[in-house]
Symmetry: C2
Subunit: 286 residues, 2 copies
């Protein structure tokens, strides 16, 4: 896991280092990708890929692209007009460190660069590139991540049903997690039933991730998380604990963890790191 994190980190850094954009913009782009982060999505992509193939070079560019899209989404979500967060991963957010216009442009730039990178890869065939760009753009688009963020913002202060809460989170975080798994398994050479089982695994994994996110916003440690806790309560957001109570939220998380493991088993592969992910997402403290 840590080795993959390191590989992703250095490839993301290198990508930005070689992008040669104007001074000032380049500095902000480097800052944006240097903060670290868990790199969970690209690691998930690489891990799924490795369940089917050893030729890891093939999956590196899509993994970097995925991380750039995730990073862009955090930068825009943190903006004053959105979630208005000053800290991220223990460091000032881009609009605090630089300014708002820089944060908007850095986000736009990382999103655009993600797609450009895929087109320039020498490891991927044209059909593979199209598949990857299609999955990433759909998952992060107006029926995916952007829809989720839109609905999430609009839902502040409004009570939500569990169904609606699930829906928003599937859009906001779930689709990109599933795209990571789909792309990894497709590129590795999984069969369609395997891709489907892993897609379902990703579905529950996303819900586990989100419930734990909500739990950490109440029970987490600010230093470990690198951001303040309690922001959901401050913003009057419906969360799993606020809707169901903490005990039931933990129960639901464990239930989805079991379902994720069931779907993993259904794929009939032997890739322990994907099982570890269930615990990592469900029991993480950071």
């Amino acid at each position: 896991m840590q080795e993959k994190q390191h590989v992703i980190h250095s490839h993301v850094q290198n990508t930005i280092h070689h992008s040669a954009s104007p001074n000032g913009l380049q500095e902000a782009l480097s800052y944006a990708v240097s903060a670290g982060g868990k790199r969970l999505r690209p690691i998930l992509m690489l891990s799924t890929f490795e369940a089917f193939s050893d030729d890891i070079k093939k999956a590196l560019t899509p993994a970097v692209a995925l991380e750039l899209i995730h990073t862009y989404s955090l930068i825009h979500d943190d903006l004053p007009a959105m979630d208005n967060d000053d800290m991220r991963r223990g460091k000032p957010t881009i609009h605090k460190k630089f300014d708002e216009s820089t944060a908007i442009l850095v986000g736009d730039g990382l999103l655009t660069l993600a797609f450009q990178l895929i087109t320039e890869s020498s490891e991927l065939g044209a059909e593979e590139k199209i598949y990857i760009i299609h999955q990433l753009s759909k998952a992060s688009g107006i029926n995916g991540m952007i829809a989720g963020q839109f609905l999430d913002l609009r839902a502040e202060g409004e009570p939500l049903s569990e169904e609606k809460l699930n829906y928003i989170h599937q859009k906001k975080t779930g689709e990109l997690i599933r795209a990571a798994i789909k792309i990894g398994s497709y590129l590795g050479g999984a069969t369609p039933p395997q891709i489907e089982a892993l897609n379902d695994y990703g579905h529950y994994l996303g819900l586990v991730f989100q419930i734990q996110d909500d739990i950490l916003d109440i029970q987490g440690d600010e230093t470990e998380l690198g951001k303040p806790i309690g922001s959901d309560v401050d913003q009057n957001k419906t969360t799993y604990p606020s809707l169901l109570g903490m005990d039931q939220a933990i129960h639901l998380r464990n239930h989805y963890m079991a379902l994720a493991e069931e779907k993993y088993e259904k794929a009939g592969i032997n890739q322990d790191i994907l099982k570890d992910f269930i615990n990592l997402f469900g029991k993480r403290t950071y």
Copy 2:
């Protein structure tokens, strides 16, 4: 020209109409593409394509994608943290009509949708899709349009040389105009020397467009333009007229118009609309 404008307009509208994003977001997306605008870039793409091929269906999706990218860039440029413009094409800008978070997300969404659309086209081959996505992402990315916007914002209140001014505009508007022409000629089946000549034509066309833009900000009619004039002066921006004086700016515009025509002739094609574009860009009043 008007027929093409109509075709583009209805295809852009249809694309958004069928995108089925959540209520509220969908409304803002529709508003964003309904304001009209001149659709100059996609018309330029279609016109270049038609110099080489009659199979116009092939060029429609890239033309729509190009317009979505252009529209996203205007929405983000108009934001309070950027150029802070309240009116665009005679209507309130997205952040005035809705709010800032909606404007950020609509922009992000249009950009992402542009790439998704290309991947879903049934008229284009995989290699063609990759070519289009590559050209569009590069032209609108951190070494293209975003670099231009970044430098333009940073340059406010600072005197610029003509060389630097050219550089910023080539990035900010020129690269996307050239991408339109490159994609149109490539898809149509132009030879490499023809693509190169038309690329040079696009280079001068972009400069003509920008100089005229600067002239209109001083001499234009607000009703016809659909936005207030004088904003460059208010923002203390270096423009061609402020740098060279109005007479010299007009002279330079005419010089670039002549060079654009020279490059058009060099391509050895018979497509009058591309010659009309030179006059349209250079003599436009709106």
